[in-house]
């Protein structure tokens, strides 16, 4: 006598929305944990493995390091706020710093051509644009960069 019973697979959620809100000091060593947290949420919502391993980590690291370094100039008196909303449709992440903001439309240098290819910097916004579906910047009490990415299976 030997028998194993296994129940049916669980039926899916009919709707699911995960929101993460967090505040970190202006310290680049915080970036990795934020990325891990947001990527994990995307994993729950069954985003494509590449989105979880590449698009989200790299784009979010760029946004966070710009907020910490360019926005807050690593001022320990300033912090960075992050809000991520993850659904089965899309991920929306907002990174808010306490700096003066910048003109997104002016930062369109292509780091893949000519001299720029050999430069050490200047690939951040380019990667964010290539890895996300949309990048916006606006001011609402703070300088906010919003990134939107549709979920792929």
């Amino acid at each position: 006598m030997r028998s194993v019973l296994t129940t049916d697979p669980d039926p899916p959620f009919s709707a699911l929305r995960v929101r993460v809100e967090l505040e970190i000091p202006s310290d680049v060593r915080c970036i990795e944990r934020v990325v891990e947290l947001v990527a994990q949420q995307c994993q729950y919502l069954e985003y494509n493995p590449r989105q979880i391993a590449l698009n989200v980590p790299v784009a979010l690291t760029e946004a966070l390091s710009n907020a910490i370094l360019r926005g807050n100039h690593e001022d320990p008196g300033k912090n960075v706020q992050v809000r991520a909303e993850v659904t089965r449709e899309q991920l929306v992440v907002e990174v808010a710093d306490e700096g003066d903001g910048f003109d997104l439309d002016e930062c369109t240098l292509d780091p893949t051509v000519g001299e720029a290819l050999m430069r050490e910097d200047g690939r951040g916004l380019f990667l964010m644009r290539r890895l996300m579906d949309r990048i916006e910047r606006f001011y609402n009490h703070r300088n906010i960069v919003r990134m939107t990415m549709r979920r792929h299976d």
């Binding site: 390091s65 290819l117 951040g124 990667l127």
Partner: protein, 110 residues
């Protein structure tokens, strides 16, 4: 995340474990520059244990490669997974580096 550095023949081999990003890229840069100053010429960075790389990590690779070349040396990369390959392709840095599929291949052809 951590870096481990060892020498195989006359080649300095660096393993990047975890992420190569703004928070730790400076360590990698310094370590490699120290070896370069000591007269090492051949460098291989192995990414088999690497998660993701951000723009500043890529930037460090570009600047190291330049500095090593200025000293008559060479920097090669090995073991990029598909996601990392895509990152190099997006930024066209795949045209700048010698990228080997395996550590052995990279070491052999140096």
């Amino acid at each position: 995340m951590s870096f481990s550095i060892k020498k195989q023949g006359d080649i300095v081999v660096v393993d990047v474990e975890g992420q190569l990003i703004v928070g730790n890229r400076q360590e990698l840069k310094q370590k490699v520059l120290d070896e370069l100053e000591r007269g090492e010429k051949k460098f291989l960075i192995d990414f088999s244990q690497t998660g993701y790389i951000d723009s500043s990590g890529l930037g460090v690779l570009v600047s190291l490669s330049k500095k090593i070349r200025e000293q008559g040396g060479e920097l090669r990369l090995a073991n990029l997974n598909d996601d990392l390959k895509t990152l190099f392709e997006l930024t066209k840095l795949d045209t700048l580096f010698q990228i080997a599929d395996s550590r052995e291949r990279a070491l052999e052809t140096f």
